[in-house]
């Protein structure tokens, strides 16, 4: 006979869990008591939201399932944003929440929340365990569901009496869920069809999304692109999936993507979408999007296909598996690599027309674009970059040269401010040898800066850049462009002293308003054993360009 708490920990060990991110509560004390003697590390965060983001960052870097564990009621509701963030970006995660005893559920007991109900639409699946006999099976299923098919967060709600009661323990070796059978291999006939289309296409574009990273398909994408000389563009989530210094890479497309990536996509005759979902931030106005293109869509999730735009050749399957097969089919068919001289010439023209450029900064301010380029230059190719949400996020996506998958962590789907710092902690724990840099804005930074204390506690050094424009910059930019500069609710005229704040939380803090100083301090920080916060002064009126206004088409692009 084993206690619920022992079953939980044993299952976690068998799932090969090394770290749990969490924050305590009395309900879970029995579990801690068992964890005491387990090799699993429990990383105490200072806010449950951060615990969920840290587990998410850990998962994005390692490719393994991230785990967080929090208490009932307020602990559980605090992870909601973290779950929604992971859900929107399809990140494998298992979240454990404590719950009041089964006999009290529904009584408005102290620290009770119907977390299964609350998280129903922001988890891939969730469980309320109400019989100890189901406990081991549920945990096993939770990890299986989180990490297979289109990954996502799974929540397991653990009532106190379940944790305390006993049963005969049997670890279910096999998982079988009759309603859940992800399809990995694509349909061979469809794949052949794509190969044929590819041989006919004159102006093809590969459009890749986060699915390429999740299925570890970067090598296969490179192979396909090089075999057929096809330019590649990426969504925000796909960055790192294709080396940005490769000459086939067009950069990001969509709202803040490059002019030429958007033009190429829109003028193409064949779009091969890989693990991407034709998000509205990418397509803009649907009826104006790539009117001449045959659209091929490869995705593991059938519901992602033809959701926003009509797809001509859909293939349901794991991107890596399907590409392996497709590359074989292509190899059988090609006689020589197409030159595509005309197509590349056209793209070069677009590139020359609106290149990504920025001017010189005023004295006392740095250009954020320059800062990002410098970081890109000074950090090595395997440096991991996390961000929050806003202008700083888009400048990073535009100006950082990502070369490897799983080095770019950002909240693409939900757009969660406060994601970057805790995600950096998870990232560094997953890969302690990597340099980790969190690039943030002054607004976002204040949403989870308390976690610097967590980083200090566990000796997890990373650099946090605060691009300080004394405003909620991205929203202010909207007001500049669409509301005739009638600024409202976007100024942060009073900000904390970020240097002192950093120091009080156990980090090194620096203030920088000059290029040379930035380079010196950044280089020094790369070697620091402590978390470092570098506040960089930037101008309030700095903007992100290019920009396709929401609901517009490429023709409406604003370039400055």
């Amino acid at each position: 006979m084993k206690k619920g708490s022992e079953i939980i920990v044993e299952c976690l060990e068998r799932e090969n869990v090394k770290h749990i991110f969490g924050l305590p509560g009395a309900v879970l004390c029995d579990v801690y008591d068992v964890l005491h003697d387990s090799p699993i590390d429990f990383i105490i965060c200072r806010h449950e939201q951060a615990a969920a983001h840290a587990a998410d960052g850990y998962a994005r870097v390692s490719g393994k399932t991230g785990v967080c564990m929090v208490t009932s009621g307020p602990g559980a509701t605090n992870i909601v944003t973290g779950l929604a963030t992971a859900y929107m970006d399809s990140i494998p995660m298992v979240a454990f929440t404590g719950q009041v005893p089964t006999t009290m559920i529904g009584d408005d007991a102290f620290q009770e929340a119907d977390i299964a109900g609350i998280t129903r639409t922001i988890t891939k699946h969730n469980y309320l365990v109400n019989d100890i006999k189901d406990l081991a099976r549920i945990i096993r299923e939770a990890f299986y569901i989180a990490s297979t098919g289109r990954p996502g967060p799974v929540l397991v709600d653990l009532p106190k009496d379940i944790i305390h009661s006993k049963t005969k323990f049997e670890y279910p070796e096999k998982v079988s869920i009759r309603g859940y059978n992800p399809n990995l291999k694509g349909h061979p006939k469809q794949i052949e069809k794509i190969a044929v289309k590819l041989s006919e296409a004159k102006r093809p574009v590969i459009y890749m999304g986060g699915g390429v990273i999740l299925s570890n398909a970067s090598r296969e994408v490179e192979e396909l692109a090089h075999m057929l000389n096809i330019p590649v563009t990426s969504t925000l989530m796909g960055l790192g999936g294709f080396p940005s210094n490769d000459k086939l890479f067009l950069g990001m497309l969509g709202m803040h993507g490059t002019y030429w990536a958007n033009m190429a996509t829109n003028n193409s005759d064949l779009i091969i979408a890989l693990g991407a979902r034709f998000d509205d931030r990418v397509t803009g106005r649907i009826d104006k999007f790539a009117p001449d293109a045959t659209v091929v869509h490869i995705d593991i999730d059938p519901s992602a296909i033809s959701k926003n735009i009509t797809v001509d050749i859909p293939v349901v399957g794991d991107v890596k598996e399907v590409l392996k097969h497709l590359n074989e089919e292509v190899k059988k068919r090609i006689k020589s690599k197409p030159k595509r001289t005309e197509w590349f010439k056209e793209i070069e023209k677009w590139k020359a027309k609106h290149p990504l450029l920025y001017g010189d900064g005023k004295k006392g301010y740095l250009k954020p674009q320059w800062v990002i380029e410098k970081i890109s230059e000074l950090a090595d190719d395997s440096a991991i970059i996390t961000t929050d949400v806003g202008q700083h996020q888009m400048w990073t996506a535009q100006y950082f040269k990502f070369k490897k998958p799983r080095t770019w962590l950002t909240s693409g789907g939900l757009g969660t401010m406060g994601y970057g710092l805790p995600a950096a902690i998870g990232a560094k724990m997953a890969n302690p040898k990597s340099i980790v840099v969190n690039i943030s804005g002054d607004g976002s930074f204040q949403m989870n800066c308390q976690e610097i204390a967590t980083a200090k506690t566990y000796g997890v050094p990373f650099i946090s850049i605060v691009l300080n424009n004394n405003s909620y910059g991205m929203v202010r930019q909207y007001q500049t462009i669409f509301y005739k500069k009638r600024y409202y609710a976007t100024d942060l005229d009073f900000n904390p002293d970020f240097v002192k704040l950093a120091e009080s939380l156990g980090a090194e803090g620096y203030y920088v308003d000059d290029e040379k100083k930035f380079i010196d301090i950044f280089k020094k920080s790369l070697k620091s054993k402590l978390p470092v916060v570098i506040e960089v002064k930037i101008e309030k009126d700095e903007k992100v360009f290019p920009m396709v206004p929401a609901g517009g088409s490429v023709k409406d692009i604003l370039v400055d």
Binding site: A116, R120, R178, S303
Partner: protein, 162 residues
């Protein structure tokens, strides 16, 4: 367009909320939803009637298939199927109209299952059209109350969807 969707689900708590939630999250009205156990007590069948744009229904069906507790989804709309609904109608039955009322009930081959001094309760089973026709005919007598089960449906022939 009206769609009849048959969904086989795990017979567990929370499943109904998940399924219904998919419709409500898209601002979609469910016209009728009925649930009951199948021959396998661990599996329930839901019959859902909804109206909407074909493309949106297709999305809803794909989303339903994504749910871990959903075993099988069939859109019966284009297929050959039978559907039935049951209704209880409490209708005014003053002595002077009773014989006329009983005639109508007879024509519809339905039953009176409760007789009170001034009212009957009529039980009827049939497809949507029949139930609606019956209600229309009884309405002039004065209907006091109606309870409808919502539709259940099954594809015709020997093909089994369990």
């Amino acid at each position: 367009m009206k769609h009849i969707i048959s969904v086989l689900v795990e017979n567990k708590f929370g499943v109904l909320a998940r399924v219904a939630g998919l419709f409500s999250a898209r601002g979609f009205n469910i016209k009728s939803l009925s649930v009951g156990e199948t021959i396998d007590p661990t599996v329930s069948r839901m019959t859902i009637i909804s109206a909407g744009d074909d493309q949106i229904i297709e999305q809803v069906i794909k989303q339903l298939r994504r749910l871990v507790d959903v075993i099988k989804v069939t859109d019966l709309t284009g297929e050959d199927y039978v559907d039935r609904e049951m209704v209880l109608i409490k209708v005014n039955a003053e002595p002077k109209v009773r014989s006329e009322l009983m005639q109508i009930i007879d024509i519809f081959r339905t039953k009176i299952i409760d007789v009170a001094p001034r009212s009957f309760i009529v039980e009827a089973t049939g497809d949507n059209d029949k139930i609606n026709a019956l209600i229309d005919l009884l309405r002039p007598f004065g209907i006091k109350e109606i309870a409808r089960t919502g539709c259940v449906a099954m594809s015709r022939g020997s093909k089994s969807k369990k």
